[in-house]
């Protein structure tokens, strides 16, 4: 299994190399040239600076999205009626290309970090909310029966039964939320900003600096995949379930 996975990584780089040879390094710089550009970006600081700006926006956006999503998810999950009323409305908003609403954020918060944080938050809050609501609403009744038959206090029930039971779903929700927050911030930076990886990407694109474009794409991929792997590790840690059950989250 590991051998196949290693081979697949090699194949990915080979494909990249072949494509770049076919299109020419002026169109698509290959892995080696891109690595050099990234090294230059780190050495001279332009890439690290942009990365820090982006992460500095993603972090608060993600934190707010997580807290707000968990809160509203829990509230709507506990009230069956309100949950049922609101769910289709929320799913409806989830289906909208949210980036088209970014101008409204710009008009409200002006160009700068605030509009990107707010938009990143808006872009990422829905999966946490939706998953938290479903998890709270569908917590296995037998767990609550055990709690009641043991005469647990409400605080004990929440702390020792409800929250541990929800953790696996919440980690999945937070993982999706991070990805979407991250993408939201990048989108916002591309559209209107003066710093960050998204800005670097659009600036490099406008000056036809494909080497930099490629370097930024690689950094975006590394951050996205890296954080995703961390969440996957956390999932494994908090939810020791069999692989088949994990399958279900693949589709989420």
């Amino acid at each position: 299994m590991t051998r196949i996975r290693l081979l697949s990584i090699v194949a990915l780089f080979a494909l990249w190399e072949v494509l770049s040879l076919y299109l020419g390094e002026d169109y698509l710089p290959g892995p080696w040239l891109t690595a050099q550009v990234i090294a230059d970006g780190i050495a001279r600081g332009w890439l690290t600076r942009a990365t820090w700006i982006t992460l500095g926006e993603v972090a608060p956006a993600f934190a707010i999205a997580a807290v707000a999503g968990l809160f509203f998810g829990a509230v709507l999950g506990l009230s069956r009626l309100w949950g049922e009323i609101m769910e289709p409305l929320i799913l409806g908003v989830y289906a909208v290309p949210k980036v088209t609403l970014y101008p409204i954020f710009l008009l409200v918060f002006k160009v700068g970090a605030a509009s990107k944080i707010a938009f990143g938050m808006f872009h990422g809050v829905f999966p946490v909310q939706i998953i938290a609501q479903a998890a709270v609403a569908h917590i296995r009744p037998v767990y609550l029966k055990v709690a009641r038959s043991l005469s647990l206090t409400p605080a004990q029930t929440v702390l020792h039964v409800v929250i541990p039971a929800l953790v696996p779903a919440l980690v999945v929700g937070l993982r999706l939320a991070f990805s979407l927050t991250f993408i939201g911030v990048i989108l916002a930076e591309i559209f209107a900003s003066r710093g960050g990886l998204g800005f670097l990407l659009s600036a490099a694109d406008q000056t036809f600096d494909v080497k930099r474009v490629n370097a930024v794409i690689v950094v975006l991929a590394v951050i996205g995949v890296g954080v995703n792997l961390l969440f996957n590790l956390a999932e494994r840690r908090v939810a020791p379930v069999r692989n088949e059950e994990r399958q279900a989250t693949l589709a989420a």
């Binding site: 299994m1 290309p97 993408i183 995949v225 954080v227 995703n228």
Partner: protein
Amino acid sequence: MSRRERNLVLARVAIVVVAVGILELLARLGTFGPTLSVPPSVMLQTLMASLADGTLVPDVVRTAIEIGLAYAIALAIGLPLGVVLWRSRPLAIAVEPYLLAYYVIPLFAFYPLFIKIFGGGIAPIVAIGVINGIGAIAMNVLVGLREIPRVQLAVARSLMLGQTQTLLHVVVPATIPQAFVGIRLGFIYSLIGVIAAEFILATAGVGYRIAYDYNNFESRSMFATILLVLIASIAANQALISIERRLQRHRRA
């Protein structure tokens, strides 16, 4: 529809009406300042006008064509991809980590690359819509196929059904509910990909119009176009969800 369901729908409609009403009132009072205070009724009028006089029509047509093309290609690649991954275990092992990481990378970052490969015009936009849609389609088809109960395939074997028969009468019907989740999400993601790409990168289309109006301080027509995108995407999603519900109806255990 039961009485309870009807009441739920009424409650939802009431919430939307009240929210729009409050927005209308606050906008009319100018609460949000001159650029942001566009009442929903004015948005709708502006939208109708720009559709009637044809100023928005070319962009709508262009975007619709892009979404249609992107979705068709995403289906044409995503559906077989899901099947291939189901049939080939080594391939699935190799590709699965990428599928899991699929939506964590901002896919539209590949736009400059697509321009290099496909040239100008609608092709690179369509390409963004395609890659945005493929992942959800392939993943859900794969999950649906994997979740076919073993016993159903055993029944097919014990009845000595041929490959085609097994596929048509067992595999496909068993997979459709889950696969349709992917087919629905694939459309939504293609739509999001196309409009987002237009918005940040293109020089035509509905998404571009919103960006253009924003940059030129045309907040009325910007809000009108945003309204169109909201209505169209929510309506499309709603229609697909109702089909999905119908397909999953006999599954509720």
